[in-house]
């Protein structure tokens, strides 16, 4: 039931990776809630749907994508529809000559050695093993970014993973690889979109290797359809003095699980992980993060915020793991959740596992509803309650959006956030109307 068979020209190591993946996924299948890492998110509906590979997408035009585009027209763009590269909708101009930014399938056909040490080597956390195995067995394409030392791509590369009606009842397995040489700089926005409603599974894996002093901005925007399943794993390895800035925005899918992992492998590496998740209806929104401090003098900073409405269920599970040799670690992790309805639910599990003594690690988590005092203050200034609520809810989430470096991306996500809040407000008023009637 894995997607399209791999092509015959693949190098031996990749064929082996696929064979192992297939065997592993056959053995593991989708995790169940008995697995501690999956305790709060039940993938039974995904397993039961027993989805085959997604069919090729129907014809797509620029107009289909327009609502999802943002930023400047000259930004490099890669478009994949149902997992297949769409050359006519993509644009790969304005990149430094030595930079390779292209579909992974092209790179593998041409110069597989460039990603041999990264592809299949970084995403090795047991919690994501089944997902990564399924992906390895069947992936066909995705984006590849390989930058030599010192190369700087200063505009964000926008990668759109679109699924249309042909993906319904199918599985799409995007696979992405990023290899940054010393002091290279890159920025990616990964958008996951559904153009048609229906049950469909996306299981994406991204591996990023950051060389010494490299900087990588990774922003993931998940806006899949209301019946879709979205599973994602991002795993990075950071060498000395490198910097990873990760952002995960999730508002779509019936069931979504996003794993963001990074290993601070060289001294002085720094990671910032941010996220914002919005849930409504019966959505299940799950994030798991893991920051592995494996070298001394590394710092990590993490803030995840969630807003849950309706009967939605938000899950956050973050771990900071400090190895014995990772002295002088400074780690801070925060998860804040806002519940907008009586039936929304949050499970948060911030964890520290520390084996070094000279460290400074903190974590914090809060769950609650809007504070009555600021609400009263705004109303006393003549702002209607609905608006005051929207304003405070927006304020709750807005600061974390500001952490994205690219302004157009921030603006776009703020727009999405406002649209979501307006919807939530309408739902709230409708519910209040029903109650008073």
């Amino acid at each position: 039931m894995t997607a399209t068979a791999p092509r015959a020209t693949e190098p031996g190591w990749l064929a082996a990776l696929r064979r192992e993946g297939a065997a592993r996924f056959e053995a593991l299948r989708f995790p169940t809630t008995r697995d501690e890492d999956w305790r709060f998110t039940d993938l039974a509906p995904v397993a039961k749907a027993n989805l085959g590979a997604a069919r090729a997408a129907g014809p797509l035009t620029e107009a289909d994508l327009t609502p999802y585009l943002f930023g400047h027209a000259e930004w490099p763009r890669l478009v994949f529809a149902n997992g297949r590269f769409q050359a006519e909708l993509s644009r790969l101009t304005g990149l430094p000559a030595a930079a390779r930014v292209e579909p992974l399938a092209d790179l593998l056909a041409d110069a597989p050695e460039l990603v041999e040490e990264t592809l299949g080597q970084l995403a090795v956390q047991p919690a994501s093993a089944a997902l990564v195995a399924q992906n390895a067995a069947g992936f066909t394409d995705g984006y590849a970014i390989v930058l030599p030392a010192g190369a700087v791509v200063d505009t964000p590369i926008h990668v759109l993973f679109v699924s249309d009606a042909n993906a319904v009842l199918g599985t799409t397995l995007p696979r992405n690889v990023v290899v940054l040489g010393a002091n290279a700089v890159a920025s990616v926005v990964e958008s996951y979109l559904s153009l048609a409603d229906g049950v469909a599974l996306t299981n994406t894996v991204t591996e990023a290797s950051l060389g010494e002093g490299a900087r990588f901005d990774h922003c993931k925007v998940q806006r899949e359809g209301a019946e879709a399943f979205h599973l994602a794993t991002f795993d990075a390895r950071q060498e000395r003095d490198s910097y990873l800035n990760s952002f995960s925005f999730a508002e779509g899918a019936a069931i979504s699980r996003t794993n963001i992992y990074t290993t601070l492998a060289g001294p002085g590496a720094h990671a910032t992980l941010y996220g914002l998740y919005l849930g409504e209806g019966r959505q299940q929104v799950d994030h798991q993060t893991r920051i592995e401090h494996a070298a001394p003098d590394c710092t990590s900073w993490e803030v995840y915020k969630g807003i849950l409405d309706g009967h939605s269920h938000g899950v956050f599970n973050g771990k900071v793991y400090v190895h014995p040799e990772a002295q002088k670690t400074d780690g801070k992790q925060t998860n804040k959740n806002l519940l907008l309805s009586e039936t929304a639910k949050v499970d948060t599990k911030p964890q520290l596992e520390i084996f070094a003594d000279d460290v400074k690690c903190t974590h914090g988590a809060t769950v609650g509803s809007l504070d009555a005092v600021p609400l009263f203050y705004l109303r006393s200034r003549g702002i209607p309650e609905d608006e005051a609520r929207t304003l405070l809810t927006y304020a709750f989430a807005a600061d974390v959006l500001e952490e994205i470096r690219s302004r157009p991306v921030v603006d776009h996500l703020e727009d999405l956030m406002r649209a979501w809040l307006a919807k939530a407000g309408r739902r709230g008023r409708a519910a209040a109307g029903r109650e008073s009637a």
Binding site: E342, K345, V346, Q351, H363, A365, S369
Partner: protein, 478 residues
């Protein structure tokens, strides 16, 4: 350069002596006959035997859990002696009739029963191996209607109370070790505070495992009727032996409307030697139920002993406006392991809970905080505040935090904070520069770190806890 902190001396476990007392033990191993034998020896009513056997049958179908963050070799449950009692011929009439060897033991432990009787005003129930040896102040307490006696006596004298509350908070089949305890528990303490009564003195139990290869399975049940108040203290020690001994106790607290129960523990079971040989496995189920509105249960624990500690004193906040509190200091040194924390289950409206946990890891010790804060859909306006701080001393130990937060109502508010740090050389330097020696400086810093918890201990225990903390960390700080 060895840091100044490294030169603390190792002090031996001073409670590690063995008392040579003739004991009445049952043969090793566990089967229905063992349970019938224990029940018969204790002349128990039929309902209790049935309850035990039902628990045993449940236990047989259960598997030992392995999810905690601790490692130990498999336990052979057939190699444990489930009942061991100091031999005695006739029932004891007063303290004076207690075996002088035994009294000397308690003397050594620093809880002189006779002394206590005269001076301190703390009523003590001392449990030696499996049975309760003496309960002081029993008569005086009876004047105010308070029942404080061994569990066996309670079964004989107040079977209706035992029947009503036994297993009402920790059911017999609650978990593997609770089921084992229900099947084989031999004694424990029983406290009943009638309506509106404030217990006139602090109640206290001292547990001691003496005989080799025995397990201690005691059961404590405290019931505070509406408006009653009680403060209960528990202390534990065991001799040094190079085999591991199992301690699987169950504590149940029931607080009815407006009642307050404060339960304090100083746990100093033998922790094993510096290589981790021997020591007590302390696998305990402690749970309180705030059954009535405005009731309050406070757990305070200082955990310095045991080779493995695995327990989560919990509160079910069922009554509206009820309060649950958990204050804990857990220290691990050498090869000790602790996986401890609490569960606060908010059921009623406006329930509040506070969790303050301080973990100190030294040597090769592994310390985990594991906690659950659960706000059920009816817990309107419930609040929780959690703070768990860890201190690491040396680079071979570990500190871990596994909080679970599950919120199902928007008006509930949960705040969780955790931090990890070490004793700074600069702090020590500052103290030394003010004329304190290194040991005192460390002791002061550690005590300051634990202050929030010690403040919640009754006076006598607070002093003992501070001393214990000093002893536990000696030789490890570096």
């Amino acid at each position: 350069m060895t840091s100044p902190v490294e030169s603390y001396v190792q002090q031996d476990y001073k409670y590690g002596f063995v008392t040579d007392i003739e004991a009445d033990t049952v043969p090793r191993g566990l089967n229905e006959d063992t349970i019938r034998l224990i029940s018969a020896k204790k002349q128990e009513p039929a309902f209790l035997l049935e309850w035990r056997l039902a628990a045993y049958r449940r236990w047989l179908a259960m598997t030992e859990p392995h999810w905690p963050n601790v490692q130990y070799p498999p336990i052979d449950y057939q190699d444990i002696i489930y009942y061991s009692a100091p031999k005695q011929v006739k029932p004891l009439g007063s303290l004076d009739e207690v075996d002088p060897e035994l009294l000397a033991t308690y003397e050594k432990l620093g809880i002189s029963l006779s002394e206590q009787k005269r001076l301190s005003g703390v009523a003590v129930d001392a449990i030696f191996d499996s049975v309760s040896v003496a309960t002081t102040f029993r008569e005086k307490l009876a004047e105010s209607g308070v029942i404080f006696c061994s569990f066996s006596d309670a079964v004989k004298d107040h079977p209706e109370l035992v029947k009503k509350y036994l297993g009402s908070v920790v059911p017999a089949g609650d978990n593997f070790f609770a089921a084992l305890n229900a099947a084989v528990f031999t004694d424990g303490s029983f406290v009943y505070i009638p309506k509106g009564v404030t217990c006139p003195m602090e109640l206290s139990t001292y547990f001691r495992i003496n005989a080799a290869d025995t397990g201690q399975f005691e059961r404590t049940l405290i019931v505070a009727e509406a408006g009653a108040t009680v403060s209960y203290l528990e202390g534990c020690t065991a001799p040094k032996r190079d085999t591991n001994q199992l301690h699987a106790a169950v504590v149940e607290l029931v607080a009815l409307e407006g009642a307050t129960i404060k339960y304090s523990t100083v746990q100093n079971w033998y922790a094993g030697d510096s290589e981790g040989k021997g020591g007590i496995y302390n696998f305990v189920t402690k749970r309180g139920k705030c059954a009535g509105a405005r009731s309050r249960i406070t757990w305070t624990q200082v955990e310095t002993g045991s080779s493995i500690t695995w327990k989560y004193p919990s509160v079910i906040l069922q009554g509206d406006d009820s309060i649950g509190e958990f204050y804990s200091v857990a220290v691990v040194n050498n090869r000790q392991q602790a996986d401890t924390g609490t569960k606060m289950i908010h059921v009623g409206r406006n329930t509040k809970s506070t969790i303050i946990s301080k973990g100190i890891s030294a040597g090769r010790g592994q310390n985990s905080y594991r906690g659950l804060v659960k706000m059920l859909p009816k817990a309107v306006g419930a609040r929780n505040y959690t703070q768990c701080d860890s201190m690491l001393i040396g680079n071979a130990c570990g500190a871990h935090t596994f909080p679970y937060i599950d919120v199902q109502h928007p008006s509930a508010s949960v705040e969780h904070e955790a931090s990890t740090s070490k004793i700074g050389e600069d702090q020590i330097f500052y103290c030394k520069q003010r004329g304190l020696d290194t040991e005192d400086a460390i002791s002061m810093i550690v005590n300051g770190f634990c202050k929030d918890v010690f403040q919640n201990l009754p006076m006598e225990f607070a002093v003992e806890a501070q001393k214990l903390l000093g002893i536990s960390l000696e030789g490890s700080v570096g």
